[in-house]
Symmetry: C2
Subunit: 337 residues, 2 copies
DNA sequence: CTGAAAGCGCTTACAG
DNA sequence: CTGAAAGCGCTTACAG
């Protein structure tokens, strides 16, 4: 009885080349297959003639490797991150010979198990797209995972990649102080418990300290990485007559809100108040004036995480953590021309 | 000899529930499996106890269905499209019970076959991420594919989804003429041979004609869907003293360039010259003044294409083409308050 | 340098 | 309502 799918199988190739399937398999998989030159030539010919591509499922069933990795995404927000993230992850996946499966976390915890040991060899987990408990279950069964932009839950030694939030912020505040003589620099926090925000605040503190500027608690406010909330905070400050000559907005979205509040109050940016962000989101270029900010390469993060995952799958180990460098993107909102 | 992977198999479940694997398989796959209520209960219990998830590769090998669809992306540009695209595609994939494999087209045509019959049941091809020849090969072997944002090569009846470029542009030009009394409306073309641009130009023409405005070839220029080239064209026009009171920039990126040229020349937008775009890219909100443009839902396009693909895979047929509606996004650059 | 055979974990006629 | 058995297309010891 003829097969339904028209695709040639390894047996077809073996028959055409006049060798066993074992030999074909070896030629397909081993870098330096132990076959005579002429046999090899015949096999290559047969593969080309039939346009043979090994069946992924069959291959993974017998090798117990799926040759695929997963990328698990949260279901909301992060829009600006995806394109470069995907680019980095996809590049590293291909480079390491893996297919890429993508899924985004559904709200209902219902039996839906989009990515896991049943269909991948490992997964890159972006931010909070998986619960601590599920992560723990993976760790227990030794299923490879790498966290992107998230610290592993306490006690779980899961490899992860993070940005150098602290150093990036430190450099930014240094710049404000040293280049532009700012002394009353406000800081807008991100969401409660947000790790990025935590580290950024540390960088802010370190910079002030290094320049012998006393910290003023009144200058630390809440921006929530959000345009509206940042605007509100700055409006409150303005109303209260708070004295400040610069604000580190926490991230770029917040910086947009900060600028709105400042413009509405007739303040000049950067002459009266400098405004800086973090992320170098697309919007940064279009701020008025263009926003000075801190950039971390998202593509690099994706690529690094995927590379680590590939290592983890292949060799069984990889570095515990990768800390990616950031870079100052100087535009005009800090006072630079 | 013990299995290496700790994951339970269908046999483990069968043993625990005291039934055959056949029965387990039926319970896993059939909506209304022919089993007694108590057997069913025991089986569900066993599945839950073991935390059983069917092995994807084994399942697809024996069913000759991968239960995965692919999304093939071009390797450059389109950044603003990906997040909503992915959202739509992923949603429809999950809804139809498919895993989602993502790959982006590599430049080297080398044997790399990221997505195809060997690992998916069908693929959504975004724009020009696959050559006509490769597409033809798929058609010939009846491998399901749906084109997103691309017309099938002549002679190939491949289902595809497109935006209503013509009607969207038509509505925009109508608005400029009817609401704002514009008569000298310039049009910026996209890249040579670009289909979107072609249809948009048709919409432009239809609108002029409907309002008995004679077409002036001098008002049709080249923008290439690109900020810099659009700026150059408008600068040339200004230098040449061309008379125009509005410009349809072709897309939003071009509109940014158009605005730059206009601002630099001291023209007021929209009083002297109205500027409108197409896409409603993120940048549109941040233009000065905010850009009036035409929006097509990218997520909807992705979802529709994926839905069509699922139908094609499941039923063997689907509509030949889906034409997605567009919508005017009125902001300030057209003259509206 | 080469091959026969078992087995990966499922699904699916077929039989009862 | 239930099961035994063949088979999906590969890989991988094992043997020579």
């Amino acid at each position: 009885m003829p097969k339904k799918t028209g695709s040639p199988t390894i047996r077809d190739v073996a028959r055409l080349a006049g060798v066993s399937v074992t030999t074909i398999s070896r030629v397909m998989n081993e870098p330096d297959p132990p076959v005579s030159a002429e046999t090899l030539a015949r096999i290559h010919q047969a593969i080309a003639d039939l346009n043979y591509v090994p069946h992924a499922a069959a291959r993974s069933l017998s090798s117990s490797r799926s040759n695929a990795i997963g990328l698990l995404l949260p279901h909301v927000g992060w829009d600006d991150y995806f394109p470069p993230l995907l680019r980095g992850v996809e590049a590293a996946a291909v480079e390491n010979g893996f297919d890429l499966l993508i899924a985004s976390r559904r709200e209902n915890g219902s039996g839906a198990r989009p990515l896991g040991p049943h269909n991948t060899d490992g997964v890159v987990v972006f931010t909070d797209s998986l619960s601590d408990a599920e992560l723990a279950a993976w760790v227990e069964k030794k299923f490879p995972a790498v966290l992107l932009h998230r610290t592993p839950p306490a006690g779980l030694g899961i490899p992860h990649v993070q940005y150098e939030n602290k150093d990036g912020t430190r450099a930014m505040i240094d710049h404000l102080i040293e280049k532009h003589g700012k002394r009353r620099i406000a800081f807008l926090r991100g969401p409660d418990g947000n790790e990025d925000s935590h580290w950024r605040e540390l960088g802010y503190r370190q910079s002030l300290e290094a320049h012998q500027i006393a910290e003023d608690p009144a200058l630390v406010g809440f921006g929530n990485f959000n345009e509206d909330e940042a605007r509100n905070t700055v409006e409150d400050w303005l109303r209260a007559g708070l004295d400040f000559d610069a604000v580190f907005a926490g991230d770029d979205d917040s910086a947009v809100g900060v600028m709105q509040a400042l413009h509405a109050a007739g303040k000049r940016i950067p002459e009266d108040v400098a405004v800086v962000g973090f992320d170098d989101a697309p919007v940064a270029r279009f701020c008025n004036p263009p926003l000075t900010t801190v950039r971390a390469s998202i593509a690099e993060a994706g690529q690094t995480a995927t590379q680590m995952l590939a290592e983890l799958i292949t060799t069984g180990k990889t570095q515990f953590m990768a800390l990616l460098p950031t870079e100052l993107v100087i535009r005009r909102s800090c006072g630079c021309a």
